[in-house]
């Protein structure tokens, strides 16, 4: 799922200060789980902005606002409310915000910062383990991703900053190369560690990504 963090309320208020009538779009999936875009957050943000003179003309929570067709469907359903709105606020990741841009000519604003593609471990515990690099290396690293989980994305072993098995950059995180070593050792696959890995092929996925049926 996409992990998001709500922007400071003052920043959101500054973005929409010239718009009185606001329409809110929430996210029933990732942002709900992150508590940045579920029904409660949609209502709460509307209430807060009303305190500074804005008016909520309507809101909707789309199951997954990264689905552009779904967002368009919701916007059709709420067309009367949208007709009275001066701006749309989207409480999701940047993908959902841009779905809304495809669905309306009104100005659309993000209320969240999108952080990473995260694994959900338990309530409000998220960890980045895959960064969608376009060329998966997990086969050679015991299923543990150094591209994502080493701050330097090292492919050939640890740097000198391994600190008693923790990462020099953030001591709350393990050195992923210690994890990979231990895993490969237990699998009796240390030969994979010994193999020199080539640099990433940044042409494997041309950004921005685009997939069409073949």
């Amino acid at each position: 799922m996409i992990i998001t963090k709500q922007k400071p309320v003052e920043d959101i208020a500054r973005m929409v200060e010239k718009h009185k009538n606001l329409f809110f779009v929430g996210c029933g999936q990732c942002s709900s789980q992150c508590q940045t875009g579920g029904e409660w957050e949609v209502e709460e943000l509307g209430r807060i902005l009303e305190e500074s003179g804005h008016k909520t003309v309507g809101s909707t929570v789309v199951y997954a606002p990264c689905h552009e067709l779904d967002v368009k469907r919701h916007f059709r359903k709420h067309k009367d409310q949208l007709a009275r709105a001066d701006a749309v606020l989207v409480l999701s990741c940047g993908a959902g915000v841009q779905s809304a841009v495809e669905a309306t000519d009104l100005p659309v604003y993000p209320t969240n910062d999108s952080l990473f593609l995260g694994n959900s471990q338990r309530h409000m515990h998220f960890e980045e383990k895959c960064s969608t690099c376009g060329e998966c290396v997990l086969e050679s690293t015991g299923g543990i991703c150094p591209v994502t989980r080493c701050p330097k994305g090292l492919l050939n072993g640890p740097c000198g900053g391994t600190n008693h098995g923790a990462c020099e950059v953030d001591s709350d995180k393990p050195c992923v190369w210690t994890l990979i070593y231990n895993r490969l050792e237990s699998l009796d696959e240390l030969d994979k560690f010994r193999e020199i890995q080539p640099p990433k092929n940044y042409n494997a996925i041309k950004r921005p990504g685009l997939v069409r049926p073949e």
């Binding site: 740097c159 600190n163 020099e168």
Partner: protein, 298 residues
């Protein structure tokens, strides 16, 4: 200028020092250190935005070292440049007469003074070593033939006190396989541990011409020694040295640190532990000549 390579290949005990370029354009002190050390060492390392802190460039200062009659070990990190820029700088360095490169991954930007910068790491140390080897063979990384190849002596680093050590050892072996010809170690202080590491290393480098130089950072106070233990990963100052540093009045601590450094150099020579030393005084280069003298090297 191939003095360092020749010194390494001659089998003599090689000595290198280190120059950290200043943050800014005031170079008098640095030039003084270069002139002071050039006649005494086989080469001077020049650091590349050391600790991810912006400084005067490693290539320009390496060139100055050579212009002033010494040999330079051009340090190159992968943190700030992609593969095009790295190769471009390598060709430029070669054009300027630099012949020794120390290939490093580089400290992460988050430990430096531009914490919000984007780190690059398009290559990492092992791949940079491979890349330099390819340039030496007349090809760029993409496999295109060069009009004239480079002739670099390829260096790398290893951290003998890394914890855990096993992954570090495998990476060391990969650097050798990639084409590293000489190594400078991260600072070592426990000579028994270092000797044990070198016994392992000799097994790995047997039958190759790979040279290993002990990295020695001069202790200047007991506080510095404790700081290294606490905050510098891969560095271990044993209790015996902490006690030795604490045994003298504060004002004599530098002298004691110099003595310890000279003793470790001697230990490496007398016990044939490694092929040379890389002495780092981190801004206090004026003490290096005396250390070398104390060790009987000058």
């Amino acid at each position: 200028m191939a003095a360092y390579r020749e010194a390494c290949e001659s089998g003599k005990f090689v000595v290198s020092g280190e120059i950290g370029p200043p943050k800014g354009t005031k170079v008098d002190n640095m030039l003084h250190h270069i002139d002071l050390l050039n006649p005494l060492v086989d080469a001077l390392n020049v650091t590349d935005n050391q600790s991810a802190v912006l400084r005067l460039g490693s290539m320009a200062v390496s060139h100055e070292v050579v212009t002033r009659g010494g040999d330079a070990i051009y340090q190159m990190t992968c943190r700030d440049r992609n593969r095009l820029a790295l190769q471009n700088d390598l060709l430029s360095a070669h054009f300027l007469g630099l012949r020794n490169v120390l290939a490093l991954t580089g400290d992460h930007v988050s430990v430096g003074d531009h914490k919000d910068a984007r780190e690059v790491y398009d290559f990492e140390s092992v791949q940079l070593i491979q890349c330099i080897k390819k340039l030496n063979e007349g090809f760029d990384w993409a496999g295109n033939e060069l009009e004239g190849s480079t002739d670099f002596f390829i260096g790398a680093v290893v951290t003998p006190e890394s914890d855990p050590i096993e992954p570090q050892k495998l990476k060391y072996e990969k650097k050798i396989a990639a084409g590293a010809q000489f190594f400078q170690t991260q600072a070592v202080y426990d000579m028994d541990n270092f000797q044990r590491f070198m016994e392992y290393s000799h097994g790995v480098t047997e039958g190759t011409d790979v040279k290993v130089m002990a990295g020695l950072v001069v202790l200047t106070s007991v506080g510095m020694a404790k700081y290294m233990n606490k905050f510098v990963p891969g560095v271990f100052v044993p209790d015996s040295l902490l006690e030795e540093m604490a045994s003298v009045p504060k004002e004599d601590a530098i002298k004691k640190g110099m003595e310890i450094c000279a003793r470790h150099i001697r230990f490496c020579i007398d016990n044939k532990v490694c092929d040379g030393v890389h002495v780092m005084a981190i801004g206090k280069e004026e003490i290096v000549p005396e250390i070398l003298q104390m060790a009987g090297l000058a």
